[in-house]
């Protein structure tokens, strides 16, 4: 750690991991409800478990993005953070808001939560991923603005690197597009059309800038490769991301009432969305091959390369699988969508955040460069357990989705939704087993922070 104020990142990372645990536990509850329909009913109905699962994911990714920014921006700008106090204050505001919101989901019925938070004054609730009460959404905006101010002021008064600039553009885009969460017209088609300006332009747009910047930072630090080379790659990757991804939004406009030309625009542009992810894979392996030093933090390198591979598979390959409109006609809103969602979020955003946590945490905990060997071994086991489990979760959901599309939408004699669900329950059981393996991987990951802590720090030679 080169600057004292980078330390504010630590609570963000810890809270992110805690929310990650909550996310996975509620994922397992949902997975079981898929096959044991009355599990925890009516105490925790599926929709509540799903809200906790997806909202915990979003909040922990945002927490980790903020932690990553507080860590890397001062180091890149070569100056202390503008206001460490504001960063710490915003951490607690964000954490308390998130905790209250989750408590509201679990303790109140959703309609009661809507009532006590006065949703009717400005109805924004009850839309997928944007289920948070309006007051929580306003809180998110305040936290995001304070965060952007803090990061922006730091960058302004320090060295302006491409990594910092790209990160700042990504974070600004994140804040700006979130504002569409407040637009909820009574016309459902308009509602859905602009809902995607939050959801798609986040995950297939500006978030990829954040991902690219974090990955570039970790590669600069761990490989010692010339910054000029890495920055050029970064520009090319994010250029391709936005050139394909913005119009690629059209792949969500096929069947929601928008004009049919979106089937062409959406298919052609989103078919190219894997290109930047493939470039990212080539980039990461290229840079690591050209490394000028062997960094002693092996898990950080593993996570960085893992991100590049899994983001390409999850977002690129599994996205392409169902993005062409003639295919999507049969797969839209099926388990294929779920399969893609799981591997894309894990591969791109979970893994990049674990990458920066893996790189930064040993330094935040006062080490020179890396954890002791034993801790590293545990962390690398957790990488393989979680990553392989996620591959199988994705494969089982894909199997379920292919059968679902065929039995319900394509075969000679299309069958009702629930009849089909029962026929494919084997795949849901297997998915749940893979989910348990994922949880074991997560436990091993957390254990890696505690094992062998009194051993000497690993060095390159070991």
């Amino acid at each position: 750690m080169q600057y004292q104020s980078q330390a504010v990142a630590k609570p963000y990372f810890i809270a992110a991991i805690a929310l990650f645990v909550a996310q996975v536990l509620f994922g397992l509850i949902m997975g079981l409800q898929y096959v044991v329909g009355d599990f925890l009913f009516p105490e925790i109905p599926f929709n509540v478990a799903r809200m906790v699962h997806t909202n915990a994911l979003i909040v922990w990714l945002l927490m980790a993005f903020m932690g990553a920014s507080y860590y890397l921006v001062p180091e890149e700008a070569e100056t202390e953070l503008y206001s460490p106090g504001l960063a710490t204050l915003m951490f607690w505001v964000f954490l308390v808001a998130a905790a209250l919101t989750v408590a509201g989901y679990l303790l109140l019925s959703y309609s009661t939560l809507a009532e006590v938070t006065m949703n009717k004054l400005l109805p924004t609730m009850g839309r997928e991923f944007l289920e948070q009460p309006t007051i929580t959404k306003i809180g998110i905006v305040i936290v995001a603005l304070a965060f952007l101010f803090n990061i922006g002021m730091t960058i302004l008064r320090g060295r302006k690197t491409v990594i910092n600039l790209v990160l700042l553009m990504g974070l600004t885009g994140l804040a700006v597009f979130f504002l569409f969460a407040f637009y909820n017209p009574e016309n459902l088609v308009l509602d859905k059309y602009f809902w995607w300006w939050v959801v798609h332009l986040w995950v297939e747009g500006v978030w990829e800038l954040i991902l690219g910047a974090i990955l570039a930072f970790v590669l600069v630090k761990t490989t010692g490769v010339d910054r000029e080379v890495i920055e050029k790659w970064l520009y090319v990757i994010i250029a391709m991301t936005l050139i394909t991804g913005i119009i690629g939004t059209g792949h969500h406009y096929y069947w929601i009432g928008a004009p049919e030309y979106w089937q062409w625009w959406g298919s052609i542009f989103s078919a190219m969305e894997p290109i930047p992810f493939f470039m990212m894979t080539v980039f990461a392996f290229n840079i690591v091959n050209k490394r000028r030093r062997d960094h002693p933090n092996k898990p950080a390198m593993l996570w960085a390369l893992g991100t590049a591979v899994m983001a390409f598979l999850g977002a690129g390959v599994w996205g392409f699988l169902h993005t062409l409109s003639p295919v999507n006609y049969y797969t839209h809103g099926s388990q294929i969508t779920a399969a893609h969602g799981h591997m894309a979020f894990y591969g791109a955003y979970v893994m990049i955040n674990i990458t920066i946590i893996s790189y930064a945490m040993p330094l935040l905990r006062g080490r020179n460069a890396a954890n002791p060997l034993k801790s590293q071994v545990w962390e690398m086991w957790s990488f393989w357990l979680m990553t392989i489990a996620m591959v199988f979760i994705t494969l089982f959901l894909t199997g379920a989705g292919i059968l679902q599309a065929y039995l319900q939408r394509m075969g000679e004699n299309p069958q009702p939704f629930m009849v089909v669900q029962e026929q494919i329950s084997l795949f849901y059981w297997l998915r749940e087993i893979a989910g348990v393996i994922f949880l074991i991987g997560l436990v091993v990951y957390i254990a890696s922070f505690f094992v062998g802590q009194n051993d000497p720090e690993a060095t390159t030679a070991s």
Binding site: Q33, Y34, V36, G37, D38, F41, P42, P45, F46, N47, R50, M51, Y110, S111, A114, E115, P123, M125, G126, E128, E131, V162, N184, E186, N187, L188, V189, L190, Y193, E231, K232, Y235, V236, A239, L242, I243, I246, I247, H252, Y253, Y254, W255, I256, G257, A258, P259, E260, W262, W265, H332, G333, S334, T337, A338, Q408, R409, P414, Q415, F417, M418
Partner: protein, 148 residues
């Protein structure tokens, strides 16, 4: 004379490409907004049943229906698609109301079950009218068949 591919060139492609394609996206959005009135069944919103549909959407949202169901294919994949439930239930809002009203409070042993929301008749009508309105949006013939 070939120009070397420098960082500055890459940066310019990024800024230029982003600006161009974002503007193109805005132009397409503008055109879409012009075409939507012929497709999105907005006449229903200003008609006699408009207030009921608007109320139905709010009830839909405030009970997190999207947390289990899909609507025009978007949402959760735990329960059936509802964009065409009006047709699936024989073009009957009464059938939709009767289904929602009859859910057992303690669920069905071993099976997925919709919660009992204890809606009033007026609320049930609002939801059913909202779903009927949705079913009349032009979705380019999606879903492929009545099963959703």
């Amino acid at each position: 004379m070939a120009q070397p591919f420098t960082k500055i060139v890459a940066r310019n492609i990024f800024y230029g490409g982003t600006a161009f394609f974002f503007l193109l996206f805005l132009a397409l959005t503008f055109d879409t907004m012009g075409q939507l009135p012929q497709r999105d069944n907005r006449a229903a919103l200003t008609g006699e049943l408009g207030p009921a549909i608007t109320k139905g959407k709010l009830i839909w949202e405030e009970n997190n229906c999207i947390g289990c169901h899909t609507l025009l294919g978007e949402g959760a994949y735990f329960a059936p698609e509802l964009g065409n439930v009006y047709q699936r239930y024989g073009n009957s809002t009464d059938a939709i109301k009767a289904f929602i009203a009859s859910r057992p409070a303690e669920g069905i042993p071993g099976r997925r079950s919709m919660p009992q929301f204890n809606f009033s008749d007026e609320e049930l009508t609002a939801i059913a009218e909202f779903l009927k309105y949705v079913s009349e949006i032009n979705t380019a013939n999606w879903p492929p068949n009545i099963q959703g």
